[in-house]
């Protein structure tokens, strides 16, 4: 047999995509540098931890070991949150940039296989990075204070979390044409997960907050059980369940994205989003409502569930918003046009707003001041961020539409914003009416019927007075609104420039001959 013939049974033939991915990734010069930088960062943390532990003097070895392990795991989880998007977010865009994408698409290989291979190869890199941290972590084993089960739980969580964030990166790499756009998008989304899920813990949403590494680790180290579907369970149960659900959604979204690139049907992705929302609602109900609740406590619980929906909506707003560049470019034919037409997008926004509005209604009636203000603090900027993101994404995707479409979208967005904020003013007025001693039956009725709520709000003086209160609350959130406005103005300027230049780049890999 010839020299080449000896290779006929090699891995490249059994799993060509995976082996190619692994070889090309690990042969790149940057992999050595990035791996060493990662280890260096961990070593620095350990060194500082040891020095800090030594200075205490009175601390026992196992205490230092335990503290060191905690510090290391916090650092590693946060590092992976930033490293994994970098690794995964250029998986598909890299092929486009290297001009190898067409050859791959011309071959008989399905999008599912491409995504599986890309994700597996990225997982390989993640596992390598996590594995190389073990020797560093073993310093804490020498000192003691770390149970094997802690190691297993924390490292399993880190792997799951990294995979999910990696899948997020992969998803963004299927959306954009260039890594320069997909990598920041993936990193920002990862940070948002951290930021959005962390306050969830303050709002009786501890199980949801478990997807945030810092929240999970603090819950694990404090041995605090978390309510999940009405059951008390260790933090890793909701964490892994939610991360697995999110991971599945992202993988489905990525495959769908590649499956029909030009038509870009997103029905499946959107359905996955709705499933995720429903899932969260269901487990929230299980978490909050138990049979032995008194009436006020039950009302409080219902308010809590509604708030969870609100938080999920806010988290999902970016995702929904980022559909704009795609939605506007989709062909309108068949029954799918309801979901794919611009009007469909606006409807989707309204539909996404609906739970938030209902949530605010219930929350206000439950008399939860914190939640009410949370809604005001988050909903406006969240929607503005959604729009900003949509515009930026649209610009980055290089898919500018006509001015007419843009104006229509802007008007619809402003209208949606008004619809989100205005009911709150009404509801705020109702809350005041409740405090003024209205009958419980009226309160209960207003819980059930938005129409009743509107009827109650017709007291004009009360409405105006409470509108002022709303304005005052909005004023407290000035910096966030200003930031959103600046981003939005930048996006508008970029879009205007784009439209003025009449630039209309073709979608990925589909440039005219």
């Amino acid at each position: 047999m010839s020299a080449a013939g000896r290779h006929a049974g090699s891995g490249m033939l059994r799993a060509p995509l995976l082996v190619k991915e692994i070889r090309t990734r690990l042969r790149a010069r940057t992999v050595v540098i990035s791996g060493n930088l990662y280890v260096l960062a961990l070593c620095t943390v350990v060194l500082l931890g040891l020095l800090g532990g030594g200075s205490v003097g009175e601390a026992l070895g196992w205490q230092i070991g335990s503290s060191l392990f905690k510090t290391l795991t916090y650092t590693q989880a946060l590092l992976m949150l930033f490293v994994s998007p970098l690794v995964a977010a250029s998986a598909v865009t890299g092929e486009v940039e290297q001009k190898t994408w067409d050859s791959l698409r011309a071959a008989p290989v399905t999008p599912r296989k491409i995504i599986a291979a890309k994700l597996s190869a990225a997982t390989g890199v993640f596992l390598m990075l996590i594995f190389v941290s073990l020797p560093v972590a073993s310093i804490s084993f020498i000192l003691g204070g770390v149970a094997p089960v802690d190691l297993l739980v924390v490292y399993s969580y880190t792997v799951f979390c990294t995979l999910t964030v990696g899948a997020m990166g992969l998803y963004w790499s299927t959306r954009f044409e260039r890594s320069i756009a997909s990598i920041p998008a993936a990193t920002v989304t990862a940070v948002l997960v951290l930021i959005v899920s962390s306050p969830a813990s303050e709002m009786n949403l501890r199980s949801l907050a478990m997807i945030c590494p810092t929240e999970f680790l603090s819950a694990t180290y404090s041995d605090a059980p978390v309510a999940f579907f009405g059951l008390e369970c260790p933090p890793w149960v909701p964490a892994l369940a939610l991360l697995a659900a999110l991971f599945a959604c992202l993988v489905i979204a990525s495959v769908t994205r590649l499956a029909d690139e030009r038509r870009r049907r997103h029905a499946l992705r959107r359905a996955a989003l709705l499933v995720l929302l429903a899932l969260v609602a269901v487990f929230s109900a299980g978490e909050q409502v138990t049979a032995d609740l008194t009436e006020p406590a039950a009302r409080q619980a219902v308010g809590s569930i509604a708030t969870q929906l609100l938080v999920v909506w806010m988290a999902a707003a970016l995702w929904i918003g980022s559909s704009v560049p795609v939605t506007l470019g989709e062909p309108r034919r068949g029954p799918g046009r309801i979901l794919t037409a611009p009007a469909g997008y606006v409807l989707l926004i309204f539909a996404a707003c609906a739970p938030a509005v209902v949530a605010s209604l219930i929350v206000c009636r439950a008399g939860a001041g914190l939640w009410r203000s949370s809604f005001l603090v988050f909903a406006g900027p969240a929607f503005m961020s959604s729009l900003t993101w949509a515009l930026l994404a649209r610009w980055l995707a290089g898919n500018s539409g006509s001015m007419r479409r843009f104006v229509g979208l802007a008007c619809a967005s402003v209208l949606a914003l008004v619809i989100v904020v205005a009911p709150f003013a009404v509801l705020s007025a109702m809350a005041d009416a409740s405090e003024n001693g209205e009958p419980a039956a009226v309160q209960f009725a207003s819980l059930l019927s938005p129409l009743t709520a509107i009827w109650h709000s017709t007291g004009a003086g009360m409405y105006v007075r409470n509108l002022k209160a709303v304005t005052g609350l909005l004023g407290k959130d000035g910096p966030a609104l200003a930031t959103g406005a600046i981003f939005m103005a930048s996006a508008l300027a970029l879009l205007a420039r784009d439209i003025a230049a009449g630039r209309r780049p073709a979608p990925r890999g589909t440039g005219p001959a």
């Binding site: 080449a4 013939g5 290779h7 006929a8 490249m12 190619k20 038509r263 005219p512």
Partner: protein
């Protein structure tokens, strides 16, 4: 049987229609040249033919299977070479071809097939070299080998000669003839007509997204007539034109910068008779200088040993 049948193919990018109701068919064993200026829609059409793009409307049937609904059946039969291509720099030439062979489900005998392909594109000395270390021309030849690795029945080549030196172009033409001789169908695009004229058997002309003409070069153009440029003293051109027009078999005579272009029956005897008639009438026929062909000089001075 037609190797490929395209019916009313339309592809749009937003408001731009890149391919507009394109219809043509290519019989088995043909070399079909798709020509047209830049931006005519050639690449878009070819991308649809090999399943990279989905058409907005129309059908593409390759050897009886629809590309849109049966890509799994069609894609293994097609070898595609893109105009702007990339290769994986961190794979060796062998691994690169193994990778694509693996994608096409090749297992048995792939090692020998890889060697044969590398020999075909004259890269047998670079089997274990990293692709990133190869020159651009070598990468292009390796890329061509990739398109052939799974022995496709239909080869779709988009501007395959761009970036190749004259020797590379000549060798590419030879390889294409060789592939064609084995009964394969080839669709090749270019905006340089001289690249195609030596070996295509039929031609389609695209402009602004439309296929404006499809002609076979085997019949009326290729076999029946020959265009000959006769170099003459300018003063004799008028008389020569009148004389040649009166000769039997001459279908057209028109003035060119260096003399006259005469459209004659495709035979050496017809050309000799025309020259004989001119000389007999006292019209001087000039012989062009032979040292003007840079391609020949290039081919003579380079032996193709720089592998």
């Amino acid at each position: 049987m037609n190797a490929i049948e395209v019916r009313n193919l339309t592809v749009r990018y937003g408001n731009v229609t890149a391919a507009n109701c394109v219809s043509f068919s290519v019989p088995e064993g043909e070399i079909f040249g798709l020509v047209g200026p830049n931006g005519a829609g050639k690449t878009t059409t070819l991308k649809v033919l090999c399943g990279i793009l989905r058409p907005d409307s129309g059908t593409v049937v390759v050897r009886g299977a629809d590309m849109v609904t049966q890509p799994d059946v069609v894609k293994p039969q097609v070898g595609y070479m893109a105009d702007f291509f990339g290769v994986y720099d961190y794979l060796t030439a062998r691994e690169y071809l193994e990778f694509f062979g693996g994608l096409y489900g090749m297992r048995e005998g792939i090692g020998d097939r890889i060697l044969a392909m590398l020999r075909t594109v004259q890269l047998e000395g670079k089997v274990d070299a990293f692709v990133g270390t190869l020159s651009r021309g070598m990468k292009q030849r390796l890329y061509f080998a990739r398109a052939l690795i799974h022995d496709p029945d239909l080869l779709i080549l988009d501007e395959p000669a761009s970036g190749l030196d004259p020797r590379g172009r000549a060798e590419l033409a030879d390889t294409l003839r060789e592939v064609h001789a084995r009964g394969k169908t080839i669709i090749i695009s270019s905006h340089i007509l001289s690249e195609l004229q030596d070996f295509v058997t039929s031609i389609g002309i695209m402009e602004a997204g439309r296929l404006t003409a499809v002609r076979s070069l085997r019949g009326d153009l290729g076999a029946a007539t020959r265009h000959v440029l006769l170099h003459l003293v300018p003063a004799d051109a008028g008389a020569a034109c009148a004389l040649l027009s009166s000769l039997a078999g001459v279908s057209d005579v028109r003035r060119a910068r260096d003399g006259l272009v005469v459209c004659l029956p495709d035979s050496d005897e017809a050309v000799a008779a025309a020259v004989r008639a001119l000389v007999s009438a006292g019209i001087r026929v000039l012989l062009p200088r032979a040292d003007a062909d840079l391609k020949e000089i290039f081919m003579k001075l380079t032996k193709g040993e720089l592998m």
